[in-house]
């Protein structure tokens, strides 16, 4: 015998070895006592089984390949496959002693055995490539595939193969219908426990796929003790450390989440009932709160969904139609863009009239539009018609919609004629009816007619008196040559703006009424306030505009200003730039240790009548009017002092603002002017810095 024939010889013999072993194991059945090391062989079953499947199918394929040499290729593969099938069956029978039963199991077992015997039979009996070989191999293929299928069902669960194509409608459980066991506890067991504790694979003699099994418990005792979380067996096992051998679910399986553990614990604590309804639980109970987060409070709808194409067709830039949440047959529709609204497009909604539960037509111009189509919307629950310009007669179209629960008709000024239709809407739970144009009595009668409806009449502003915001003063420029246009405005169209140009505070009686832009020719302060009925007059706004003076021949400062506030030097005084009301803006000259003293030489032919110093005042920042002012004029360098009034003292701090000092010039001829402004040497007693030196800030001199 050559080595090749020897291998065949041994392989053929081995087949009989398997036959013997299988018969023994079958006879022994459950009564066999399997030592642990043999159990290891049993557990190789799920690994080994793949080899015979491949080899046997390969051999079967060779049968069907024309011109193939059965003897040289098919038979060696078949004998190898048959042997491995034998080993697999043996290992399987050993494994079967570990808590397996059920229909899937029996089918798998007997079909597996049949696979082995069939392949062995084919090997010995059908030696040539004949018709019978073809038939035999086909039978073997069928048996083999079925064995595999039932095996897969055992490990992965029934319907494993066809699950993806079987319809699995997501069961949305409404809160009111939910049961603690059926909808909270059982889903957890199905997901995490049942793969090992079920008919056919009762590990620890426990099955959790039937309530009876849960009640009965397993080999070590009852599954749980109602109300006793400490001693309930399964809770103990769940809480064992992951590394512990008895920890459930086993380490390599999907573990329970904290929330799931909590649900199981609370279920036992609450008595482990099998028919308790969630809604009947006490609201303070943790189980109720856990449950309330799990079930949809959304209503579920029983009508059939619209076709996806119909829905898609209705969607465009100005209309959105979509399910109220994914998977719901109920639709919501909304219109956008009043200027592009086409009333005819409403009739297109008819294709989904049964499914629409919410319709938003806010701000769409619906005057004169026939709303009769709404009567066909048999499931309409929420209708928004704010600011649509609808009239009371159009409301008749909705008075028969019994499903309507929420209606918004704000901003339509419907008035008392709407009452008749509205009072019929007894199903209504919410009515939004702001700007209803109803009297208080009418509002009350509507509420009386609809006792179960929450009506929001909104805010009417009646009796509320607020202060207007101040008007706005706009000018093109603050410093002008001849005249400047001043525009006053207020965002509320109905207000009256009154103003003054003479430093007086504007009032509602004697002040000028603003109607059109004002042209101002001289330096002036515009003070304005807004007035309106039912409003408190506004605060004042004021702006000063400055007419530019003449430009002298030359001018010089006797003493430089404080180096921190030196502007652009003496030029600052005649640069035509009005400083902002902020002494650090760089547009001001500031003096504290010395006085501002400026000598001005006039051009020939200039005969000014007055001179004005433009000041900044801000007592909080120590900036005061000057303590004293001196004015001198000179003709041919002969100086002469002109008497001027003492500048007005500040009596309190008022914040940063502009101030002026106006001096009249004498009538006689002169060609030079000198002005001297001395800062306050001691701040008054009322000031926090009493006794300290003050400042004088000047940004511009105007010579008129």
């Amino acid at each position: 015998m050559d080595s090749k024939s020897r291998i065949f010889f041994w392989l053929e013999n081995l087949l009989f070895f398997w036959i013997g072993l299988i018969v023994i194991l079958l006879i022994g059945g459950k009564s066999l006592s399997i030592p642990t090391w043999i159990q290891v062989i049993g557990r190789t079953h799920p690994l080994i089984l793949h080899f015979p499947i491949v080899l046997l199918l390969l051999a079967i394929a060779i049968v069907w390949i024309p011109n193939s040499d059965w003897g040289k290729t098919g038979k060696p593969i078949l004998v190898l496959g048959a042997n491995l099938a034998g080993f697999t069956v043996v290992a399987g029978l050993i494994l079967a002693t570990e808590d397996y039963e059920g229909t899937s199991f029996s089918w798998h077992k007997w079909l597996g055995i049949a696979t082995f015997f069939l392949s062995t039979g084919i090997y010995f009996l059908l030696k040539k490539q004949t018709q019978s070989l073809k038939i035999g191999s086909t039978v073997l293929a069928v048996v083999l595939v079925l064995t595999g299928h039932f095996g897969a069902n055992l490990t992965h669960g029934d319907n494993f193969l066809f699950e993806p194509v079987l319809s699995k409608e997501a069961q949305l459980v409404a809160f009111g219908d939910a049961e603690v066991f059926r909808d909270l506890v059982q889903p957890i067991m199905e997901a995490k426990c049942i793969s090992c504790h079920k008919e056919g694979k009762m590990k620890g003699e426990l099955r959790l796929d039937k309530i009876e099994g849960i009640k009965k418990g397993g080999e070590t005792g009852p599954f749980f003790l109602a109300g006793d979380t400490e001693n309930s067996l399964f809770l103990q096992k769940i809480h064992l450390p992951l590394e512990d051998e008895d920890h459930m679910p086993p380490k390599n399986k999907a573990q329970l989440t904290d929330e799931e553990i909590e649900i199981l614990r609370l279920w036992v604590a609450s008595g482990g009932s099998f028919d308790q309804k969630v809604a009947d639980l006490n609201q303070d109970e943790p189980l109720f709160q856990l449950a309330s987060n799990r079930f949809t409070s959304e209503k579920t709808y029983s009508f059939s969904p619209a076709s996806e194409d119909d829905i898609e067709e209705l969607n465009n830039f100005f209309r959105k139609v979509k399910p109220i949440y994914p998977g719901s047959p109920a639709l919501e529709a909304a219109y956008f863009g009043a200027s592009t609204f086409d009333p005819n497009s409403l009739s297109e909604l008819k294709s989904v009239k049964k499914q629409i539960v919410r319709l938003n037509l806010n701000r769409m111009p619906l005057q004169e539009v026939d709303l009769g189509f709404l009567q066909d919307f048999t499931h309409l629950e929420e209708l928004q018609l704010n600011f649509t310009g609808i009239s009371s007669s159009q409301l008749k179209s909705i008075e028969n919609i019994n499903s309507l629960q929420s209606l918004a008709i704000s901003g339509n000024s419907l008035g008392s004629e709407s009452l008749e239709s509205l009072k019929k809407l007894s199903s209504l739970r919410k009515l939004f009816f702001w700007e209803s144009n109803l009297t208080e009595d009418e509002q009350k009668s509507l509420q009386d007619a609809l006792p179960n409806t929450k009506i929001d009449f909104g805010f009417d502003g009646k009796g509320i008196i607020l202060q207007l915001n101040p008007p706005k003063i706009e000018t093109e420029k603050i410093m002008f040559d001849d005249s400047v246009e001043v525009i006053l405005s207020h965002p509320i169209q109905s207000v009256q703006i009154r103003y003054s140009l003479d430093e007086s505070e504007p009032d509602s009686i004697s002040s000028l009424i603003y109607s059109k832009p004002v042209f101002i020719k001289g330096t002036s302060t515009i003070r304005a306030k807004a007035f309106a009925n039912d409003w408190i007059r506004s605060e004042e706004t004021k702006t000063t505009v400055f007419r530019k003076g003449i430009q002298p021949k030359s001018f010089m400062l006797a003493i430089e200003p404080n180096p921190k506030y030196k502007g652009i030097g003496a030029e600052t005084l005649f640069d035509g730039v009005k400083g902002k009301a902020n002494h650090t803006s760089g547009e001001w000259l500031g003096f504290t240790d010395s006085a501002l003293e400026v000598e001005i030489s006039l051009k020939e032919g200039q005969h000014p009548k007055s001179i004005q110093a433009s000041l900044l005042l801000n007592e909080g920042a120590y900036i005061f009017p000057p303590e004293s002012a001196e004015l001198w004029v000179a003709e041919n360098s002969k100086w002469k002092k002109i008497e001027v009034p003492k500048p007005k003292e500040s009596l309190k701090a008022e914040g940063a603002r502009y101030g002026f000092l106006n001096f009249l010039l004498p009538e006689e001829d002169f060609d030079q002017i000198k002005i001297k402004l001395k800062p306050i040497s001691k701040l008054p007693k009322w000031h926090p810095g009493a006794g300290a030196k003050g400042w004088v800030f000047v940004d511009e001199l105007f010579i008129y």
């Binding site: 949809t296 994914p326 200027s339």
Partner: protein
């Protein structure tokens, strides 16, 4: 003859090539069965995402987030602590401070004297919530509010804290909350952006806001917040130039689209179609925006409700009114920022000014949404980026004091949109320093907001640089107690 041989060879090759090709085509056809929209030209990935969202029935459809930038003090708004008034000037016990890090502004301070609110507190509404006298209008709508007194954050300075609140991370490269929602839920109204930003500024000490706060991060640029201008023309460059009619504009866009289509056929760059879509969006916005931003048609009662400032562009009140109008027209997320709450000194005075800016208009927005039946579907959020210390920063006097930044506990409120109304959630200790009950982290807040919009915060992800990102990073728990 040679020619025939050659042709035969070619034919033979062609036949072989074709037969093999048919096999290839056959297998490709089979494989294509797995790609359902291969021939309809839809972007499958994005579409399936959109089909899956929201993940469950949403409670709110839109959000208006009134961000109080600079951090208003919880101790002068919603967290009433009489102990601080009683123990005025006493040292903050170390047992309460527990080594809390300080900002550079008070780290050098030798003493931490407790200072109580200068403003009185009273209880209001059915909920008997405490609200300071600075907010009489909010007090009048207290039963619509869901006040959370137990917010806490990780950052202690404005920029990281703001960025954290808006993007879920302190470093500014992530998408803003509005961008995530735009990405997840899209726009309700396709004629307007899904995410709009409105800015205003009070007189109080301010901290800037930057465009990174409403950035799309790594998401598509179309999800970035559109900042409205404070001028009378809220969307700049939207109106047609003088002399251009709408027809001419339409023709121009059609021509440009035709040219873009040519280059699309050449390069197949999806950016080209995106550009065309943006032109079309702008064209539709040209009619949609003026319809919305026109406030002249608002009734007198609305002006009284929000206060007359609502007609002055750029004020908080005007932005609240505009926010209502945008939201009402289907803008998914309107983000307001009101700056000026950073009262390190002179707090009582600054608070008076800031409260005057926001109190009436914030309450008005809630009332206004309610009277239109929109509050149920619109979530309004009001709050800053952190809280302020219970001890004084700088000089202390009962009527003049300052407060530094405090991340450990602060208050915000929400209203409408599926949150419980008329509740106060969480509690701080008697010093108002630490949370003692129901803490809500910024990520928890974000998870809750997404939940209200029907989104599972763990599932709204975007893959970028090899990992999946989400608004809540790897944290966040939905605070179910806040949900109605």
């Amino acid at each position: 003859m040679e020619k025939e041989i050659l042709e035969n060879g070619l034919n033979h090759n062609r036949r072989k090539f074709l037969s093999r090709l048919s096999l290839g085509i056959g297998s490709a056809a089979l494989g294509s069965l797995l790609i359902p929209d291969l021939f309809t030209g839809k972007k499958e990935a994005e579409d399936s995402l959109m089909r899956a969202l929201p993940h469950f029935a949403p409670k709110a459809k839109r959000i208006i987030y009134l961000f109080q930038n600079g951090a208003p003090s919880q101790l002068e708004t919603f967290d009433y602590k009489p102990l601080l008034q009683k123990n005025f000037g006493e040292e903050l016990p170390e047992s309460i401070r527990m080594g809390q890090r300080l900002t550079g502004m008070t780290a050098g301070q030798k003493s931490f004297p407790l200072v109580g609110s200068y403003f009185e507190f009273n209880q209001y509404g059915q909920s008997r919530a405490w609200i300071s006298s600075l907010f009489p209008h909010l007090a009048s709508v207290v039963d619509d509010l869901c006040i959370v007194k137990s917010m806490h954050t990780e950052a202690i300075n404005h920029d990281p804290a703001l960025t954290f609140f808006q993007t879920g991370a302190q470093v500014g490269n992530r998408p803003s909350m509005g961008s995530w929602l735009s990405y997840g839920l899209g726009s309700e109204n396709e004629n307007l952006p899904a995410f709009c930003v409105l800015l205003s500024r009070g007189k109080g000490n301010g901290q800037g806001v930057y465009s990174k706060l409403w950035s799309n991060g790594f998401l598509d640029a179309k999800h970035q917040g559109v900042q409205f201008s404070n001028s009378e023309d809220p969307v700049l460059y939207l109106s047609d130039p003088h002399g251009m009619s709408r027809d001419q504009r339409r023709k121009m866009l059609d021509q440009i689209a035709a040219m873009n289509d040519l280059s699309y056929q050449e390069f197949n760059d999806p950016q080209i179609t995106a550009k065309v879509q943006q032109y079309e969006m702008a064209f539709r916005m040209q009619t949609a925006v003026p319809e919305i931003t026109d406030v002249t048609k608002e009734s007198d009662s609305i002006i009284k409700l929000y206060g007359p400032d609502c007609l002055v562009p750029g004020t908080y009140a005007a932005n609240c009114l505009l926010a209502r109008k945008l939201s009402e027209n289907g803008v998914r997320f309107v983000q307001l920022y009101h700056q000026g709450w950073d009262a390190h000194d002179n707090l009582p005075n600054q608070m008076i000014g800031q409260a005057k800016d926001v109190d009436q208009a914030s309450a008005a927005l809630i009332t206004d949404l309610k009277q239109r039946g929109l509050l149920d579907e619109t979530l309004v959020i009001w709050g800053g980026e952190f809280g302020r210390t219970n001890y004084c920063q700088g000089k202390i006097a009962p009527e003049n004091y300052g407060r530094d930044h405090h991340p450990r506990a602060f208050s915000i409120f929400m209203a409408g949109g599926g949150v419980k109304s008329g509740i106060v959630y969480g509690e701080t200790d008697d010093f108002g320093y630490n949370i003692v009950e129901n803490p809500v982290h910024v990520h928890d807040f974000q998870a809750t907001v997404l939940h209200l919009m029907g989104i599972d915060h763990e599932k709204l992800t975007y893959k970028h640089l090899g990992r999946r990102y989400r608004l809540t990073d790897v944290h966040g728990n939905v605070v179910k107690d806040l949900i109605a």
